[in-house]
Amino acid sequence: MHAIIRVAAATFHEAWRKRFLNVILIFAVLIIAFSWSLAYLQPGAELKLLIDIGLGTIRFFGMLIAIFLGVRLISDEIDKRTIHTILTKPVTRAQFLLGKFFGSLATVFCNLALMGIAFYVVFLIKAPGFLSSMSSSEATGPGFSTDFIYANIAKAIFLTFVEMTVVTALAVMASTLFSWIMAATFSFFIYFVGQMADFFKTLASPARGTGFTGQIVFNTIYGILPHFEVFDMREAILKGTYVGWDVLSKHLGLGLIYATVIMLISFLAFMNREV
């Protein structure tokens, strides 16, 4: 356990020294800070667009940070040959991998928290103005409700963190299998295809005239792909739906199982890898 914590702490500190991650974070915070000015692109639905841009930025840049951090974790150690030094110490491969994963996860968490705070500040300043100048439905779009809005935004950021846990695990897995450029490409591809997991379910539907083999193929893809879209709860925020902790805990459970499966595959791949 101590070995995992030590590797994680080293990964965390090292991550904050990476300049490109700092640039991504600063850029994301700037976009969030000025998101209110873009909200005027949709007159009559400013608050909706503010939420869209704010949460979208957190998700998008969180994904960039998770992938770019994760894909270089193992390959950098191999390229610099520092992995030999680490693995000759009493650190097993599993401990090394988990330490790397938790270290980058802590970094992603801190980045998301900073972006989340920035968004909350912008929202607290701008949202009352958008609401007071117009009626609720005009300011936000149709069927919009401001019920539970502050709690729902916090929950949306929490779900983004769960989603990024899966993305980080995915990037770590890719890092154990490929060079970092290949790993980044693979991670982006799986992330974007995972956003459209429902598409494969639709393709597998017999009502579409899909043959038996097609059904098996598409259902398998649907079953294996991480369903990243389930971590997006902007619809609930727009509708003012109360999202209970029981529902959130299911999402959390789903994210943790995805991450466990992916990390298990990483471990199995890393076990056999020549370093």
């Binding site: 869209d52 704010g54 389930v230 459970g253 199982i257």
Partner: protein, 341 residues
């Protein structure tokens, strides 16, 4: 080595077991998301046409994540640019509009413009009745899809109802969608639209009920007051006679008005309705046919003409035949209470 292989086997078995175990949880999360409205309401509709625009829209949506709203706004500006650049760009505009609705389905403006563009602009761009019917169907379908994304506001219900009222002239469908619109905060003229629909259908008792409601709500509603006077003077005497079973007298009465105003479509609709009530299908057919000939846009008359022609075994000219979309079956129609109050 043997131990390592054992770990590998156990590891992969565990991976497969966990993926299998994921599925019930996945289904449960999907269920929660549908119940709580966290899931986009029409994932199938988005894909059902399978046209390149839909695919592009969905892929773009997935790639853009939270920036869909901005992308939609930018594309809308592009669409306006295309629109202003001239007549030949209407189909290109259509694709951009569709993509915008896929990117930001809660933005009402693109749905309204898309429905109007299909049902009105592109409809008149072609002389081919089959293509016209196709555009009309697509316009109505677009508005229905818009309603499914935005069910808690009156606006798209109204747009849909208006298209049925003004373009399709299917007053039965129009009253149902107007009735759906008034379930949400709405401008006061929509109740008057329900009355107008009943007047044209014709169902004069219900039309009077609704005009009466409008007048009680706002005694200064001069449109409702005028409509009540018009109905009472022009059509109601014939209608009452019809209700009493005095069909010949009813026809005589409505003919008196038709001598003054021979092109009055409402009067012709009332007359045709009286014939239908009297069981005189041939006369009803002739009256509906006359109304259809007087106004090419009177789709209600065209639909009735077609229905009666089929019943009576009369061959219609190609011009008189209603597009297939106007001949939809009752079972396909919206089933909501017609009378909202």
């Amino acid at each position: 080595m043997k131990r390592q292989r054992g770990v590998q086997v156990i590891g992969w078995v565990l991976v497969v077991a966990l993926i299998a175990g994921l599925q019930p949880l996945n289904n449960s999360v999907e269920y929660d998301r549908i119940v709580l409205g966290m899931k986009t309401p029409t994932p199938l509709t988005r894909m059902v046409d399978f046209d390149p625009t839909a695919i592009t829209g969905v892929i773009m949506g997935a790639a853009l994540g939270g920036f869909q709203g901005i992308a939609a706004s930018m594309m809308w500006m592009k669409m306006e640019e295309l629109w202003d650049s001239g007549h030949g760009t209407w189909l290109a505009c259509l694709n951009v509009m569709r993509t915008v609705t896929l990117l930001d389905p809660h933005w009402l403006e693109p749905w309204k413009i898309l429905g109007w563009h299909l049902a009105y602009n592109l409809y008149v761009e072609t002389k081919d009745p089959a293509l016209q019917a196709e555009y009309l169907r697509k316009g109505l379908d677009a508005l229905k899809e818009g309603v499914s994304w935005n069910p808690n506001t009156y606006e798209l219900y109204f747009e849909l109802a208006w298209t049925y009222f003004d373009k399709v002239r299917d007053y039965e469908e129009a009253t149902k969608w107007f009735a759906a619109a008034i379930q949400f905060p709405h401008p006061e003229f929509i109740e008057r639209m329900i009355a107008h629909s009943y007047e044209r259908m014709p169902d004069l008792d219900r039309a009077l009920d609704w005009y009466d409601y409008c007048l009680k709500r706002n005694p200064n509603d001069r449109t409702a007051r005028g409509a009540i006077t018009t109905i009472r003077l022009r059509y109601l005497p014939a209608w009452r006679l019809m209700e009493e079973g005095k069909y010949d007298e009813a026809i005589k009465r409505i003919d008196q008005y038709l001598e003054v105003e021979p092109n009055s479509l409402i009067a012709l609709h009332v007359k045709a309705h009286i014939y239908e009530e009297a069981g005189k299908d041939r006369e009803a057919f002739d009256t509906w046919r006359l109304a259809a000939r007087l106004s090419a846009m009177d789709h209600q008359a065209r639909r009735k003409t077609n229905a009666l022609a089929a019943k009576l075994g009369i061959q219609l000219t190609p011009q008189e035949q209603a597009p297939s979309y106007l001949l939809q079956q009752e079972g396909q129609r919206l089933q909501v209470p017609a009378h909202g109050r």
